[in-house]
Amino acid sequence: MGLFILRRFGVMLLTALCLTFVVFFLTNLYPNLEKLAKTQGNQRMSDEQVETWLENRGYLQPTLIKYGQWLGVMPGYQKVQEDGQVLGTCTRPGSTADNTPRFCGVLQGDWGYSSVFKDEVGSIVAKRLGNTGFLMLCVLVLMVPSALIVGVLAGMREGSALDRSLSTFSIITTATPEYVSGVIFIAIFTSSTVGLKWFKGTATQAMDNPTFENFFLPVLTIALYGMGYIARMTRASMTEVMTAQYIRTARLKGVSFPNIVMKHALRNALIAPFTVIMLQFPWLLNGVVIVETLFNYKGFGWALVQAAGNNDIQLLLAISVVSVFVVLVTQLISDIGYVYLNPRIRIS
């Protein structure tokens, strides 16, 4: 088991390296750098000015060297201008040649400087992740229990009225992407035309002061889309368990139906949904980006949109590292948890 986890961590590291290199390569293509120079410097810069701007800040070095500098295995680029201003990869506004570190990369714990927010990437990501973490927590608290309940109720009597109506419900939710359900919810519950002003259409205030009124709609929007899928998986696994031999034995020896469901079926039926829930995280990440844009909640997804829209290289890299980490860790947890929950599987 220890070796298995170790090997998975190795693969994880390799994946993260490959992915960050891809992101690095794409953001460092010349047209993207040109856009960065024009948004940071001046929209009306000529081609030569753009080139000197990029040259001075070390953007025109070979990609591999720049990637090494970002990782922290190569010394950072530095250039002292004629007016004494220090430019380069490791500099911050106001820093001088003396207090600029020689290495500044991920290995040194320095995630870089965001060109959009004019702040340290590390602190931006931490703050935005805090916001999104709270959103995700609420989503999970709402989504997982209700999805499991829906799935178990639908799966315990296959083909019954309850099963059919709950299955229809879960198919409808899986067919409604966040940007559709969010728009419908906003239209129904917040607009002045319909008149049901139950909730607020934006979640901007929810960052400081989350209340039911301003925070429930974003949570519901993300939760619904993921819920249908988990519920269908739970239903499939529950119906499979309910046709198993030991359930029939339990029925024949006279155990009551609620007891069969609660004591005999539930634990075995919940193995498959567990992995599904874990693998659902990457999709939740997607939903978070859409919902944060839709409801103007300034979290991780919102930062992603801002960073990508303005080609903020270092913020984008940090964001991709975090999201890749989330995806791979949840995969690892799902594998380990699967082994733990299902004693028939052993990893050698």
């Binding site: 953001t27 990508a308 829209g309």
Partner: protein, 487 residues
């Protein structure tokens, strides 16, 4: 011109519909509660061997449900038929159902023909045995026909890009201030914030989805199958390497990938063209290997067949990837492609990048499914029999394993078209790829949501259109799964 109301002169049906809907909801609730609370029916065996179930309260709830459902359906059909006959005098509902007349005709003809010949149509015919599959297929075909007829300018009432002054954010049914001769006199579903017709834009948006989504899914399947079959069949290093690559792409958050790939800057560097050049090779590879592995024992038949098929596909491939005589045309360098006089069609850069990225995002998932199926099926006896016969590995993969994996693959194909539709909407929602004035549903939702607290009508029609199409695809997949399991 008078502004149209929703139902016009057929408003007498509204109270009836309300009653029927209330009855339907009530009977569904009673049906669900009844299935939990009421005791199961007693089944008695008659002396002659038949069984009868006692007609208890359960049957009563079933009957109530069925009749209230039928009443709702009959009323809906009534709205449509009266609408088709009366047109705009039956309000917005009538006008819209009249505009959709070609779609209704096509649907009726298709369903009548299919039901008449369903026993000879294989899996497609069996679909008509499952009500869920039929509803799903109906929804899907509704939007397919809408897309096709919309592209032929049959359904649309106005130019989807034209702005008419005085129609900004007007409510559904508003008449045009000064309609010209031959111009439709109303904005049936209102105007958006640039004074364009919401109804026509929704119809035109269907064509974009109907064009891109199935084709992109098919390409993703070709890529996934061509790589997934050998990965599952051979295993070993190849499998490890390909699975690592697939996991790499899957670990990317989709939206981040879109934001990196689908920008004008990336289009300018030619990266999408390179990706297109690589991804679109796979269908050719797939077809070549498919035909060669089957017919290589008969060279006199194989060689002309392959020359013909390869000639056509390579021509299509080259015209797909080359635009204005270049495969890649950036400021710094360019690569020559097919000369313009041989180029069959040009794909605009924006559409190409959307297409490529959607294929790119979907193919790893297909790869994983195909690989899993191949791993499972390669242990079967008929594969061992083929190996003993001395068949080549590609013959076994493409003519033994693939046909036996078709059930799950067809089901996943339907689901994946729905997912691709959602992805296309996501791209539009973030304003990526497609031009800003494009009438696709995602972009329209994105534009409409900005004024959502005041004006509902620009955002809701495309939202419901997308919802119903994806729902239809999901239901279709469910029906297909049910029917293919019965085999």
């Amino acid at each position: 011109m008078e502004p149209l109301t929703w139902t016009g002169s057929i408003a007498f049906l509204n109270p009836l519909l309300m009653v029927a809907l209330a009855a339907l909801i009530l009977s569904i609730v009673i049906w669900i509660v009844g299935s939990i609370v009421l005791p199961e029916e007693q089944v008695t065996v008659n002396p002659d061997g038949t069984i009868t179930s006692s007609s208890g309260v359960r049957n009563l709830t079933n009957l109530a449900l069925r009749y209230s459902f039928l009443a709702c359906v009959a009323l809906a059909v009534g709205y449509l038929v009266l609408g088709i006959l009366m047109g705009t005098s039956a309000g917005i509902v009538g006008a819209i159902s009249q505009q959709f007349l070609p779609v209704w005709m096509a649907l009726i003809i298709m369903f009548a023909m299919s039901i008449a010949y369903k026993r000879r149509l294989g899996l497609y015919g069996k679909l008509y045995d499952s009500p869920i599959g039929m509803i799903g297929f109906g929804l899907v075909m509704f939007w397919v026909f809408t897309g096709i007829f919309g592209a032929l300018d049959l359904i649309v009432t106005q130019d989807p890009l034209a702005q008419v002054s005085g129609m900004k954010n007007k409510v559904p049914g508003t008449p045009l201030p000064s309609p010209e001769d031959g111009q439709y006199a109303w904005y049936l579903l209102g105007g958006d914030n640039l004074a364009r017709d919401v109804f026509s834009r929704m119809v035109k948006g269907a064509w974009i989805v109907v064009q891109i989504a199935p084709l992109a899914t098919m390409f993703a399947f070709m890529v996934g199958i061509t790589l997934g079959l050998p990965a599952g069949y051979y295993g070993g290093r190849l499998d490890t390497f390909l699975s690592f690559l697939a996991n790499l792409i899957l670990a990317f958050p989709v939206i981040l990938l879109f934001y990196l790939l689908v920008t004008p800057e990336i289009v300018a560097t030619g990266v999408p063209n390179y990706m297109a050049a690589v991804l679109f090779v796979f269908p050719i590879l797939f077809l070549t290997v498919l035909l060669n592995s089957r017919y290589y024992t008969r060279p006199s038949f194989r060689t002309p067949l392959l020359i013909g098929v390869l000639g056509v596909t390579v021509w299509l491939y080259l015209s797909l990837i080359s635009t204005n005589g270049y495969v890649i045309n950036t400021d710094d360098y360019s690569i020559w492609g097919l000369p313009t006089y041989l180029d069959l069609f040009d794909v605009p850069g924006g559409i190409l990048v959307v297409f490529v990225s959607v294929v790119f995002v979907n193919s790893p998932t297909v790869f994983r499914i195909v690989r899993g199926l191949a791993l499972d099926i390669k242990t079967r006896d008929y594969v061992a029999a083929a190996q003993t016969r001395g068949e080549g590995p590609w013959y076994i993969m493409l003519w033994e394993i693939l046909p036996n994996a078709r059930g799950p693959l067809i089901v996943d194909f339907c689901l994946r078209i729905g997912y691709t539709t959602i992805l296309l909407g996501t791209l539009g929602f973030f304003g990526l790829g497609l031009p800003p004035e494009s009438p696709d549903w995602g972009s329209t939702i994105n534009e409409g949501r900005k004024l959502l607290s005041i004006y509902l009508h620009p955002a809701l029609p495309p939202a419901f259109a997308l919802l119903s199409l994806v729902l239809g695809l999901n239901l279709l997949a469910d029906g297909l799964r049910e029917e293919s399991l019965k085999d």
